[in-house]
Amino acid sequence: MTSLLLLIRFFPYDPSIDVPLTRIHLPLIYCLTWAFHLFYVGYIGLKWRDLVKSASRLNGHR
């Protein structure tokens, strides 16, 4: 939780020009973008691992 709050501090926020929702929504936009991209890379990693297993099984079969 503390690290999350530190992350939010990383994003510029000025109460005199920003609405309160900006404090949450702006970090969410950045974090979700990274999270989805990294999740997709993880999915490719899993696909690659399955492929390596299939390849070794096929080589063993031969």
Binding site: L21, I29, Y30, H37, K47, W48, S54, L58
Partner: protein, 244 residues
């Protein structure tokens, strides 16, 4: 597994450096907007999503058309085209989905609503759903005609892209007019341009790198599946000859 790890490793370092620089530009260098305040920084991650979708979904179309054209004559090229079609469609769906998500988060702050059924948003949602259905057909359909069906679906899916692009020009929409090429009054201040274009470059480069990984994995999978099929035919023929 010779899928060029060395050059992809170097490219990954370069792309991460670009993304870091883009992040610094977006959060540190660019000033707040006179109207939107710091929420303008959402645009620096929202706009590259649409550029990404505009690069990878047409790439899916090109790969799909290539697959349809060469599938019976050049098996190897067809396999490559089909693998590229899958990789680019997945990346396009990620970018398009993120564009909808980040747009919704921005809209809640600036418009006070999460979503509205205006022309731009609706046609974009339809576009995302078409390509999600494309990926679902690829994932769950069995049989030799799956790749052909998907290639045809990709051509129909692409027809929505020009409609999405033109929607803010053809209809009055809640969505803002295009920032670039939107006529008089459109455009960004010079000190915001860097944040936009560095992030566009960084995310498109990231997308290209990830697509190259996914393409290599999918191509190898198809090659393996093909050689497994040949191996089974060989085994059966050998067993049949032994029985005789």
């Amino acid at each position: 597994m010779g899928i060029g790890w060395r050059w992809r490793g170097i490219a990954l370092v370069a792309v991460m450096a670009l993304l870091s620089y883009g992040l610094v530009q977006a959060l540190g260098v660019s000033p707040p907007d006179a109207q939107q305040g710091n929420m303008i920084r959402a645009f620096y991650y929202h706009f590259p999503d649409w550029i990404g979708a505009s690069v990878f979904l047409p790439l899916n179309l090109i790969a799909s058309v290539t697959y349809l054209a060469v599938r019976s004559k050049r098996r190897s090229l067809a396999m490559k085209a089909d693998s590229l079609a899958l990789a680019s469609a997945e990346m396009g769906v990620v970018f398009c989905g993120l564009g909808l998500l980040t747009g919704s988060l921005w809209g809640r702050v600036e418009w006070g609503i999460w979503w509205t059924w205006d022309a731009r948003l609706t046609t974009t949602l339809v576009l995302w759903l078409i390509y999600v259905s494309y990926l679902m057909v690829r994932r769950f359909s069995m049989g030799s005609s799956t790749a052909v069906l998907c290639a045809v679906l990709a051509i129909f899916g692409f027809c929505d892209i020009p409609i999405v692009y033109m929607s803010t020009r053809w209809w009055r929409t809640q969505h803002p007019a295009p920032v670039f090429g939107g006529g008089e009054g459109a455009g960004l201040a010079a000190n915001m341009q860097g944040a936009v274009w560095w992030n566009v470059l960084a995310w498109v480069a990231w997308g290209a790198l990830v697509v190259s990984f996914r393409y290599a994995v999918e191509l190898r999978r198809q090659q393996l599946e093909s050689s497994e099929g040949v191996s089974r035919i060989h085994d059966r023929t050998y067993q049949g000859a032994a029985d005789d």
